[in-house]
Amino acid sequence: MDPIKIEGTPKTPTVNFDAESGILEVKGRSIPENAIEFYKPLVDWIGNYGDSAKSNTVVNIQLEYFNTSSSKCILDVFKKLESVNGKTNITINWHYEEDDEDMLEAGEDYQAIINIPFKMIEMEEM
């Protein structure tokens, strides 16, 4: 299936979803006014990916910051991943910058809701 490659902008993150390698990455800032529009294609892609997924899938989330308009959409991405987990073994790597407690807590909040293993990865600089 076709990969998703989206260049980041000051308001939206860089996205690389690659079914060939089984690596799904979201990086940067996510502060669009209307996040549903941005995230819906990503959620749809994951739905299709389930049928042809690699045995292992690594999801790298490396967000500097996201607004609450993105919060629920990011949860939708994770829920979709949850629904295909089993067809492929998913690991979510949640990156946050050193001492950024807000982003660490945000990751932990998703971890509490989503039944997929999360790895919290502290980075010196994002």
């Binding site: 308001k11 502060i31 996040a35 609450t68 949860l75």
Partner: protein
């Protein structure tokens, strides 16, 4: 679209709460003082300008980011929750105020916008609930709303104020006043 009155800007400029708030900062510490019509483009340019100023004035990078994040949320909230109204010229207008000032290491943010009277009671109830919760309580409330499956048009679904309260670590100070039978002025103050 309901007609409110043509002097929205004057109402903002005459508000004692807003002028007292602005007055507590010296010019050098008043980082932003905006009154006028808001749209997506305007919000974007205000945020860009403020980000630049924060980079120049705040050495603490974490603080800089926290203040900026709260501003993004505050301004997007301000825009989405300002009820559109006619200004008498058959054009839609959303008029609002936004002020950012600094005293030593504490930043204060004020947002002011007009909302329909029927929206005041639920908003007040929500703000009171947020203010009644401690850090852990806010976190639980955030998770509950995050996972409630409800979406607003722009996707946030009621998380904005909870997020602001969580990040700021302080109680939200608010005020509602009547403009006429249909509209009120909503003023919110946030300390970071």
């Amino acid at each position: 679209m309901p007609y409110i009155c043509s002097n929205l800007l004057e109402i903002l400029l005459e508000s004692k709460i807003i002028s007292d708030f602005v007055g507590q900062f010296t010019d050098a510490k008043l980082l932003m003082n905006f009154h006028g019509e808001v749209n997506e483009e305007r919000i974007g340019s205000i945020l860009g300008e403020v980000e630049q100023k924060l980079e120049n004035t705040e050495e603490d990078f974490k603080k800089q980011r926290k203040v900026y994040n709260i501003l993004v949320e505050g301004l997007q909230n301000l825009y989405h929750h300002t009820d559109a109204m006619s200004n008498g010229n058959d054009t839609e207008s959303r008029t609002a105020a936004f002020v950012l000032g600094r005293k030593e290491s504490e930043y204060s943010i004020l947002t002011a916008n007009f909302i329909e009277t029927e929206n005041i009671a639920p908003l007040r109830a929500k703000l009171d609930k947020i203010n009644s919760l401690d850090k852990d309580g806010l976190r639980e409330y955030y998770k509950e709303v995050l996972d409630n499956g409800q979406y607003s048009v722009h996707g946030g679904g009621g998380l904005g104020m909870i997020d602001i309260a969580r990040k700021s670590g302080n109680k939200l100070e608010y005020n509602f006043s009547d403009v006429n039978d249909h509209f009120g002025l909503y003023i919110l103050k946030i300390k970071v």
